[in-house]
Each structure stands twice: as structure tokens, then as C-alpha cells.
Assembly symmetry: C2
Homo-oligomer: 171 residues x 2
């Protein structure tokens, strides 16, 4: 769903073929991007060079995008996370796109979703404490033109999965 990525939108007929081995490789790498080709090969029962070629191909065709390390938020002084549920007054395309682009440059913003339903935007932010959250909401969101209402939901607990499921037929 992010912008500016290679091969983000394939024609449905152009989506590269994948088989069960490819999916196995993807599963391993989504959970640990630092696995060596040798380790992956041993896990899935293929020769390292073959495994290497498959990984290379998936990178080239845009199935595999970037890799990211996870950093412990507490180590950076992040003590609180929240979801900001935002209602906009105007749904003009240009305004909404600009809004998305603007807020993603705010350091506290981790992700921003343009959605259907009661709200128009859901924004995941990370902050130091409640004071910081209040200042952020007021200075960066309430103040923006087009914003009619913000509801702040503090995140008490979270769970994440790093492995995407497969909803297509495999070769």
C-alpha cells in the first residue's frame, strides 16, 4: 500500500509465478531477514546456489521489497503509542493525498491509513508521554485545515505478525 515501490501494481496476469518453495523462502525471510542463503537452503532442502537464485529473482521482480530492523521503542524514549482517528471536512482528492504526504513527514507518525467508515484517517503515532501526545495532537493535527474532529485512542497492548498469508494459487 506504500508509494514509490518497484512493481507495486502488477496487472493480475503479470503477477510473477510462485511455487511452494518460494513461499517457504518468503516465510523464513519475513521472520528473519538475516538468515543466510545457506541456512534457508538447509531449511527448505535445496542447494544454496538454487536458493540464492530464487531469492535474487524475487528481489528483481519486486516480490521482495526492502528489509528493516526493528528497534526497541523504549530505547529511544518512546513511552506511549496511540491511534489518532481523524475526520476531514473535505474529501477532495488532492487535499486528502496532500494531507497523507504531509503527516507522514511528522517524526511521530509511524503509519497513516486513508479509510472508509466513520473516520477518514487512522494515524499510528509514537510519543514520549501523555504531555507529548497532547502537544502533538494539537500542534500537528487539530490545527490542520480540513480536520473537523480527532479522537485519540491510547494503545495499551499490541500484537504483530510479520508473515503475510497467501491467497493465490501456486505453480
Amino acid at each position: 500500500m506504500d508509494k514509490d515501490r518497484p512493481n507495486e501494481s502488477w496487472d493480475i496476469a503479470q503477477v510473477p509465478d510462485l511455487d511452494r518453495i518460494d513461499v517457504g523462502i518468503l516465510r523464513l525471510l519475513q521472520n528473519n531477514a538475516r538468515l543466510s542463503v545457506k541456512e534457508i537452503a538447509a531449511e527448505i532442502g535445496l542447494a544454496p546456489s538454487t536458493t540464492h537464485e530464487r531469492v535474487r529473482r524475487m528481489r528483481e521482480t519486486g516480490i521482495l521489497w526492502g528489509t528493516h530492523v526493528e528497534v526497541n521503542p523504549k530505547a529511544l524514549g518512546i513511552g506511549l503509542e496511540a491511534l489518532l482517528m481523524i475526520e476531514l471536512s473535505k474529501h477532495n482528492r488532492g487535499i486528502v493525498d496532500q494531507f497523507l504526504d504531509d503527516i507522514v513527514s511528522v517524526p511521530e507518525v509511524r503509519s497513516a491509513f486513508l479509510v472508509s467508515g466513520r473516520y477518514d484517517l487512522v494515524v499510528h503515532v509514537v510519543v514520549h508521554d501523555t504531555q507529548h501526545l497532547k502537544d502533538l495532537a494539537l500542534d500537528q493535527f487539530t490545527i490542520r485545515p480540513g480536520v473537523t474532529r480527532i479522537e485519540t485512542s491510547i494503545i495499551f497492548d499490541a500484537r504483530r505478525r510479520y508473515e503475510l498469508p497467501v491467497f493465490r494459487s501456486l505453480r
Copy 2:
């Protein structure tokens, strides 16, 4: 915010010291976990072995967690993402924790947040199409005991940042 990680919750006095160089390394690795130590060293102007030692230390102390590759959702047949806003009837701790643990084992769930405010849970799901989304909502969420209401927000567009900001003093 995730469970079962090393050093997830440091005492505020025990948070490891970081300096600007460490933060620079973290910034680079959050955007590209495949950077070689040599490349990082060149970028920040340090010797590779020193850089390596800093990375090793941050891994050991739990500042750096895992690494993950990003996979193009379209390559796996994922055509639609949504946020499910869920209201629960009972706020008994055990029930809520169990609920979180249960839904994170549903393949379509990417992340689940326990939050304050109008809803109790916000769940990010990935599906093939709208039919799939309907089935998922009914079969996996509406059906669960304790769920009183679900609002489905389809995600039209999204932006993400992979770099966490720093809200603490540095050595």
C-alpha cells in the same frame, strides 16, 4: 509493544546509553537492514570493526530486535486491507488478553491493538477481496463471545515510516 522479546521493558534507569553515532546506525538499519557493516561504517565515518562492535552491542542489549523482509502483498494475492474496529462487552483482563492472543493467530491479521476510546480493539487485516473480508469478519470476529460490534474500515491508501524518532537525551 509486542510480547516475548528480550529486554522489552527496561527500568527507566537501565535503558542502555546511546550516542549520536548509535542513533545514526539505527536510522540506517531501520531503512535497510541489509546494509553491510562496511557501508554503514563509510556512511557514518567510523572503522568497520568499530561499527560492527556497536551493532553487536545493540543487538545484545535488546536495542535492536529482529529484521524482516517486506513482501509485496499483491504477489501473494492480497488485494484488500482493512481495519476492524471492535467493541467488546466485557473488559475482564483475562478475556481481553486471550482475545488478542487468539486473533493474532488468524492468518489474515497483521496487527492488533488494544486501545482506549470508542472501540476496544483495532485490528489490521489483509484479504484477497471484499467477499473474503465479509467472510473473515463474520467467521472470525462477529462470532466471538464478547464482541458486541464491529465497524469495518477499508484501507484506500497508506503511508509508512520505518524510522522511529528519538525522544531521549543522548550520551
